[in-house]
Symmetry: C2
C-alpha cells in the first residue's frame, strides 16, 4: 500500500498522525504543505481537504482522510496492534476526552488560520497575539495537569501509550516551540518527556521534519 | 442507572449529547450550568470538569465523562443500537472527520470562554465579535457543504443518522440562533432540517430546554 501524509513540519496535528503511524509501525511518505506560505489554500490542496488544513492521509487511490483524531481512530480500527486506546469503554472515554482537550479545546484556537485572522482582521500586535496563544495553551495544560496529577504513569492512562499521550506530547512540544514556561505543569512535562524518549515520537518531532529550522 | 447531564440550554455541545441519548433511547436528567453567569467557573463545577465546560455526563457514582464527542463514542460502545457511526472503517473516518469539522475546527472558536476573551482582553466591539463568530461558523459550513453536496442523503452518510448529522445539525441551529444567512449552504440546511424533523433532535433543541427564552 502507498500511504501519503500531507503534513507540515510545524503542524502539531500532522505530528499526531506521524506519531500514531510510527507507533503502529506503518510506512508512509510525507508531502509538505507549507502553511506559512498559504499552500493549504491553493485549489490543488483544497481538493484534498476542503478545510485547507493538514493532516490529510491518502492510501492508494482512496479518498483523503482528514482530521488527526479521525485518522488515528481509523488507524486504530484497521491496525489494532499496538492499541492506542484502553480496553474498557469508560477508560476509552477518559482517554478520548484528554485527547480532545488538546485537539478540540486548545489547538484550533492557535492554528495558522486563526493567527492570520488575528493579524489581518483584528490587527492585533505581536505581543497580543502571543498572549492569545499562550493563554489557550496554558488553559489546556492546567486542565490536563489537574486530571493527570494523580495518574500512576508513566503515560496518561498507565503503562501503555495512547492517543491521549499523542495529543499531550504534541501540545507540550508546541508550547516549547513558543518557549512558554512549563514549570506549573510537571506531570504534563514528565509524560511528554517519557513519550519523546520513544523512537516513534522522536522521529515524528516537528524539528526532525523536512523544512524545519536546522538547530533546536 | 441514574444518568445526569450537566448542560446548558444554549450549549451546542450539550445539544449533541442530548440528541445522541435521545436517538439511543437513554433516560437522563439535565442539570443546568448557566454559562452566561459563569457557573462553569465555580469550584463545585470545576471539580466535575476541570475545563469548566459543558457537557459532563455522570452515570451513578462513576467519574464524570466530558467532551461531547468522547461521550458520544462511549454511548456508541456501550449502547450500540441504533448505531451513530457507519460500519466500515473508511466511512467511520469520513463521518468522524465531518463531526470534527464542527466540534474541533469551528465550535471551540465561539464558545463562551473565547467570547469572554474577545470582550475583556482584546476588548473588541460587538460587531467585531459577531463578525468573528460568523466567520468561523461559515468557514465550517463551506467545508461541510463542499463535502456533502454530492451525498445521496437524506443524512450526511446516507439513510441513517450518525454523529456527523448530530454535529452538523447543532452547528446549523447555532448559526440560526445568531440569525446568519444560510442560503449558500442548501445541503447543510436540508440535512439539518431532516434531522430536526426527528423527535430525538426536536426534543434536544436548545429552545426546548429549561432556561431558554420562551419564544422562537
Amino acid at each position: 500500500m502507498t500511504r501519503t501524509l500531507y503534513g507540515f513540519w510545524r503542524s502539531l496535528a500532522a505530528f499526531r498522525v506521524r506519531a500514531a503511524m510510527n507507533l503502529k509501525g506503518l510506512d508512509y511518505r510525507e508531502v509538505s504543505i507549507d502553511l506559512f506560505n498559504g499552500e493549504q489554500d491553493l485549489p490543488a490542496f483544497r481538493a484534498i481537504n476542503p478545510m485547507g488544513a493538514v493532516p490529510a492521509l491518502v492510501e492508494d487511490d482512496h479518498p483523503p482522510l482528514t482530521q488527526s483524531l479521525a485518522i488515528i481512530e481509523y488507524l486504530e480500527e484497521v491496525h489494532p496492534a499496538p492499541p492506542l486506546l484502553p480496553a474498557s469503554p469508560r477508560a476509552r472515554a477518559h482517554c478520548r476526552a484528554l485527547a480532545l482537550t488538546v485537539a478540540a479545546d486548545a489547538h484550533p484556537l492557535v492554528t495558522p488560520r486563526v493567527r492570520n485572522y488575528l493579524d489581518h482582521v483584528l490587527k492585533v500586535d505581536e505581543p497580543t497575539k502571543m498572549a492569545w496563544i499562550e493563554h489557550w495553551s496554558r488553559t489546556a495544560l492546567r486542565a490536563l495537569e489537574r486530571q493527570l496529577v494523580d495518574a500512576p504513569g508513566p503515560y496518561c492512562m498507565g503503562p501503555s501509550v495512547t492517543v491521549a499521550d499523542i495529543c499531550l506530547t504534541t501540545h507540550v512540544v508546541g508550547a516549547r516551540l513558543f518557549k512558554f514556561d512549563l514549570a506549573e505543569f510537571p506531570t504534563c512535562v514528565r509524560i511528554a518527556d517519557a513519550c519523546l524518549a520513544l523512537e516513534a515520537f522522536a522521529r515524528a518531532h516537528p524539528l526532525e521534519q523536512v523544512g524545519a529550522p536546522a538547530a533546536r
